[in-house]
């Protein structure tokens, strides 16, 4: 019946709830060979990474590339990187929700899903990182006959609480707006899938009480999740800034990490959105305006990131403390120097040109920036961790670090795991919140 108005929206997407639902459900991947192939490839890489992890546990930590004094390597880099990206979702979606940015509607769920998956992956790294992972549960505070407790003063214990809270929060934050869509999906499915969706919808009936409760809950959650997200990456930064390691012991780190996290989060969101758009044919939903708006945010974060980086390096250089200067020099010269300038190019120069010039600001350039920023931010984490550790206080024990195949495999595996989780996710639920989306009115 609403067919007559279907083409009325200038945005070109379907209009009317029924059409939107139908269209989005139709775009969910079936069991095409292409889809299965992608799942198989990602699954294969993940399996290989799992093998590498088992190998590392069975053969001792010597099979990694770690050494004295670089006791922390790629695992910590990846940990910070993934936890950083996880800020995409919640922070962006929460900020956009709270500020009432209407263009957010097709974007939020993709972002919130990134958060949950990144946290699941990032949260694994501390376990992969420790050399006796089978005793990981000793960090948990539980009463025991040995009368031992974890050390509540350790930043790693804070990490545990922060990540658990963040994971709980972001799962809830992803789940709440999914509830009406699960109910909607249940009506469109049969058999086991219908039962599963109905079970997941918690008995959603679409009454106005529920809508009001849901909207209120989302508003409150947005506030809470903002606070949590900021604190989580601050706590991750505390892991570094609480230590005596030169250049880490630094008050700028918590805000610097939060900024970097939002920065890389937006970049990841742009890349994920572009991929979804291409693979699922969501051109009518994820339109240029979304990419351009996110691009502007990305540019803003790039500038803030540049400011923080400059401040950090300027104070180090001006302070001229011998031990800090060792790290500074290492970071500016040789192999680390090359990586440093790649990082600056990726994080500052590329966004500045591609997003700063309004004529160049397009979907393709935003995505290019997103990829560049992801590379740059990964390098940033690398350059924070490795050079500082390889030039410790006493120069007699300095030493370099080359990751082994195990660390590289596990790193690759986590990227594949992210893709795999996303592939499974878009098969199970519509990636755009059906109840939130309305056929776009005329583009602004």
């Amino acid at each position: 019946m609403a067919l007559t108005v279907a083409t009325a929206g200038v945005g070109g997407g379907p209009v009317g709830h029924a059409q939107v639902c139908e269209d989005l459900v139709a775009r969910m991947p079936g069991s095409s060979p292409r889809y299965l192939g992608a799942v198989a490839v990602c699954g294969g890489i993940v399996a290989w990474a799992l093998f590498a992890w088992v190998y590392q546990i069975a053969n001792g930590f010597g099979s990694t590339g770690l050494r004295r004094p670089v006791y922390w390597g790629l695992y910590i880099v990846n940990f910070v990187f993934w936890i950083g990206i996880s800020h995409a979702g919640t922070l962006i979606s929460a900020i956009l929700r709270l500020t009432g940015a209407e263009w957010r509607r097709p974007v939020t769920r993709a972002a919130e899903a990134i958060t949950v998956f990144c946290l699941m992956i990032g949260g694994l790294f501390p376990i992969i990182h420790i050399s006796r992972p089978w005793f990981f549960y000793w960090i948990l505070p539980y009463a025991n006959e040995r009368m031992l407790w974890p050390n509540f003063r350790s930043p790693l214990f804070w990490d545990l609480t922060a990540i658990l809270t963040y994971l709980t929060g972001s799962v809830v934050y992803l789940y709440l707006p999914l509830i009406p869509d699960f109910a909607e999906m249940a009506e469109r499915c049969t058999g086991a899938r219908r039962r599963a969706y109905r079970w997941l919808s918690l008995g959603w009936r679409g009454s106005d009480r529920q809508w009001q409760a849901l909207e209120r809950a989302m508003k409150l959650m947005a506030i809470v999740i903002l606070a949590i997200a900021v604190s989580v990456h601050s706590v991750v930064a505390y892991d570094f800034s609480m230590s005596l390691t030169p250049t880490w012991h630094n008050t700028i780190f918590p805000p610097y990490f939060v900024v970097g996290a939002i920065f890389s989060g937006i970049a990841a969101l742009v890349v994920v959105m572009a991929t979804l758009r291409k693979l699922m044919g969501l051109q009518e939903y994820l339109r240029e305006v979304h990419f351009v708006n996110l691009g502007k945010l990305l540019l803003l974060m790039s500038l803030i990131w540049g400011y923080f980086t400059f401040s950090e390096h300027l104070t180090t250089w001006y302070g001229n403390l011998p031990t800090e200067m060792d790290v500074f020099q290492a970071r500016e010269h040789g192999i680390f120097g090359a990586l440093f300038w790649i990082m600056v190019t990726c994080n500052l120069a590329v966004p500045l040109v591609l997003l700063g010039v309004s004529k160049l600001r397009r979907i393709s350039t935003t995505v290019a920036c997103g990829i560049a920023v992801l590379i740059g931010m990964w390098l940033e984490r690398f350059l924070i961790v490795i050079p500082a550790l390889s030039t410790p206080h006493l120069s007699s024990v300095s030493g370099g670090y080359v990751p082994s195949w195990i660390e590289l495999s596990i790193t690759a595996g986590t990227f594949a795991a992210m893709a795999l989780l996303y592939l499974l996710f878009v098969k199970a639920v519509p990636i755009i919140a059906m109840w939130e989306y309305e056929g776009e009115p005329a583009a602004r």
Binding site: F135, W138, N144, E145, R146, M147, L148
Partner: protein, 152 residues
Amino acid sequence: MLLLLLAAAGALMAADQPLSFSHAAHIEKARMQCTDCHSGAKTRDNAGIPSIRRCMACHQFIATDRPEIGRLAAYWEKQREVPWLRVYGFSKDAAVQFRHAPHARAEIECARCHGDVASMTVAVPAVVHTMGTCVQCHRDNSASDDCVACHF
């Protein structure tokens, strides 16, 4: 952390000892003291398992007609030690250093950790040794609860 795993407690049951030595017979009937055989218990780190020389010091003359004593004598003839199996011990991973002497000096009864060996024919790990057991006893007796008291 360190469950002080009884060195494979289950495996070291009665039947596995090379000779069916009876603690009860020695302590209750013969009125011997633990330290008569486990001579290190009061003064050294290890209580020690007696050597065959110590066994034969008595059993050259006492109860020589019993079949088990005959088997003991056979080891003696071959100049072999009896391959006793340890009943108590710490797993290697526990990284525990235990010294008998200070515990004996603090007048901790043998039975506190070893159970009522006097009534056992064959010694079995009657008391489960976990870190909780040690810590609790240390706290009850206001002994050191410093980790390095045992772990080094």
